[in-house]
């Protein structure tokens, strides 16, 4: 089996040139609120660095913005909480399998984390159970995580039940992490909302939902489809009726609004991704939003 991480990296390379990748690094670095107090040295500002880290006096002397670096910055941990139920084996908005996008997201953020010397861990599962992978800072470990997600999110997996994974994280993870939630395009139910409130206090949370294939409207899926929830056929051809398409668009917007409402109330930044080509841009925007939200 070819390396999933190599594939992700090559996509990253294609999607963004060096400077943009550097910006992404800066955005990632500013995610964590905590700094040690021991000043190490200064380095040149790269876009994406937190403005509060700029050493204004030094910058004034040099004539270019400089960033304060601190020693012994604590090794951070990135925790991916991924839904690997069969919903993730369904088609995404862009026509790919949703888990392919999830793998890409984990690969990109995981690479950023490894570049910063941070470790990555994974909590995933479906309604049948939740599994956890320990935190390690190696590429081979990240590759293992990617393969785990890729191999478990299949059509024979159980129903998606992200709230179970969130509850698992709430009860098992004791330290402060950057928690990246890879969610299905689902509603956030009361159970999830409750555990999210708790998690938001402990962690930096980035909520990424993989957008589902459209069933009506201009981007609608052509051909016959079936619902992974109960494997019943979906006659998306019926949505050729403009009135039904309008109802559908309204219902989808309604769902999206409700999700945004819950996440915003917990001050969680979120992004929807429908295609692997969108991953880089959306992650950058998400990190940006997360930094500004503080």
């Amino acid at each position: 089996m070819p390396s999933l991480l190599t594939a992700v990296k090559s996509k990253m390379f294609i999607a963004a040139h060096r400077k943009a990748r550097g910006m992404l690094d800066g955005e990632y670095a500013s995610v964590f609120r905590g700094h040690s107090l021991d000043f190490d040295d200064l380095r040149a500002y790269v876009p994406g660095d937190a403005v509060r880290d700029i050493d204004w006096k030094a910058s004034a002397r040099v004539g270019a913005p400089l960033i304060k670096r601190y020693v012994a910055t604590r090794r951070q941990q990135v925790l991916f909480v991924a839904d690997t139920g069969r919903n993730m084996a369904a088609l995404a908005k862009g026509g790919e399998s949703k888990k392919d996008i999830a793998v890409m997201v984990i690969g990109v953020i995981g690479t950023l984390a490894l570049n910063h010397g941070d470790s990555v861990s994974l909590i995933h599962g479906d309604e049948r159970g939740t599994q956890a992978m320990p935190a390690q800072g190696t590429e081979s470990h990240l590759e293992t995580l990617l393969r785990r997600v890729d191999s478990t999110a299949v059509l024979t997996a159980g129903q998606s039940s992200l709230s179970a994974q969130l509850e698992y994280a709430a009860s098992h993870v004791k330290r402060h992490t950057l928690m990246v939630v890879l969610a299905d395009d689902e509603q956030i139910n009361a159970r999830s909302a409750k555990v999210l409130r708790r998690l938001a206090a402990q962690h930096e949370i980035l909520w990424i939902h993989i957008e589902d294939a459209e069933l009506a409207g201009v981007d609608a899926l052509a051909g016959v489809s079936y619902d992974v929830a109960d494997f019943s056929p979906v006659l998306s051809a019926l949505a050729g009726d403009p009135e039904l398409a309008r109802d559908y668009a309204y219902a989808v917007a309604e769902r999206s609004n409700r999700r945004s409402e819950v996440l915003r109330s917990n001050r969680i930044a979120m992004a929807g991704i429908g295609h692997t080509e969108q991953v880089m841009g959306r992650i950058f925007a998400l990190l940006e939003r997360h930094r500004r939200a503080r």
């Binding site: 069969r86 051909g223 016959v224 992974v228 998306s236 050729g240 039904l244």
Partner: protein, 312 residues
């Protein structure tokens, strides 16, 4: 052929490979989707029903349904000659017969009727005709003349040209010769012969001779005799002769017990005639494609409508 079918099947099968989607309830829970789904199901059912109807109807049509009718040849192509003995003893019976036929003639369609009266000699009052207005008029005149209160005997002019009375054989022969010599169309011929066979005089032809004449012309003689005095133990000689003569022609003999019985006797004569006239029933077979083809058309229309309504 099989290859083509396989290819088409594979292609449709491939096109039908469904893709998995999550949260289809975004669409399927919408009331309008449910409604559209119900409509889809309904029209699919219509399509299937139409197809079945069309197939069934075409199958029936292909079997060529026919309507079979048994047709009995018309009884109206017959000729009747009323042959009435107008001797004094027969007047009441004659009046009754004429009255009955003037009623019957209103129901005739295509039958021809003639009236001949005889005593010593025979007189044809009117020849065979289907001009029923004329017949009714003539029968009315005859009825009036035969009424016992009538003092006018002009109607009977020409019946006493030779000595004698009730020259039965001559009378019947005259009546029988009243049928035209038609070669082509075969019409049934009957004579309603009212007489008491009370011969007085010397006829040119005896009754059996006249009867054989009728028989040669395929004419049936139905005799009505008001003065039959036979009992079970003692047969009336004169009446028996009339009976034998009538039956020899294929007709029948009816003794009249009273004049009011004429109606039933005339009816009996008509029924006998009708029964005799009944030929072998003809079977007519007519194709009936209208109903199955109409149903097939209906099925086609249903299928067309469903095809328009059902989304692929």
């Amino acid at each position: 052929m099989i290859m083509v079918v396989l290819l088409v099947w594979r292609r449709t099968h491939k096109a039908n490979t469904a893709v998995p989607v999550a949260h289809a309830d975004r669409l399927t829970s919408l009331p309008r989707y449910q409604k559209a789904l119900a409509a889809q199901k309904k029209w699919l059912a219509v399509a299937v029903a139409s197809l079945l109807l069309m197939a069934g109807a075409l199958l029936v049509a292909a079997a060529r349904p026919v309507q079979e009718t048994n047709h009995i040849p018309q009884t109206s192509n017959r000729d009747i000659i009323l042959c009435l003995d107008v001797s004094g003893s027969m007047m009441d019976t004659d009046e009754e017969i004429v009255d009955n036929f003037s009623e019957l003639v209103t129901e005739f369609k295509g039958e021809r009727i003639a009236l001949t009266i005889f005593d010593a000699t025979a007189v044809q009052v009117f020849p065979l005709t289907d001009d029923y207005d004329f017949v009714a008029e003539q029968l009315k005149i005859a009825k009036n003349a035969m009424n016992i209160d009538s003092g006018n005997f002009d109607f009977f002019d020409g019946t006493y040209e030779v000595p004698g009375s009730s020259l039965i054989g001559d009378g019947l022969a005259s009546c029988v010769s009243g049928f035209p010599q038609e070669a082509g169309v075969q019409r049934s011929r009957s004579v309603v012969f009212a007489t008491d066979n009370m011969l007085a005089g010397h006829p040119l032809l005896t009754l059996p001779e006249a009867a054989s004449l009728a028989k040669t012309g395929h004419i049936r003689v139905y005799s009505l005799n008001p003065n039959d005095y036979s009992t079970d133990s003692y047969p009336d000689q004169i009446a028996t002769e009339l009976k034998v003569a009538s039956e020899s022609t294929g007709g029948a003999y009816y003794p009249l017990k009273s004049d009011s019985a004429v109606k039933s006797i005339v009816k009996k004569v008509q029924d006998t005639e009708a029964a005799k006239l009944k030929g072998a029933p003809l079977k007519t077979v007519v194709d009936q494609p209208a109903v199955p083809l109409g149903l097939a058309m209906l099925g086609l229309l249903g299928l067309g409508a469903a095809t328009l309504k059902v989304r692929p």
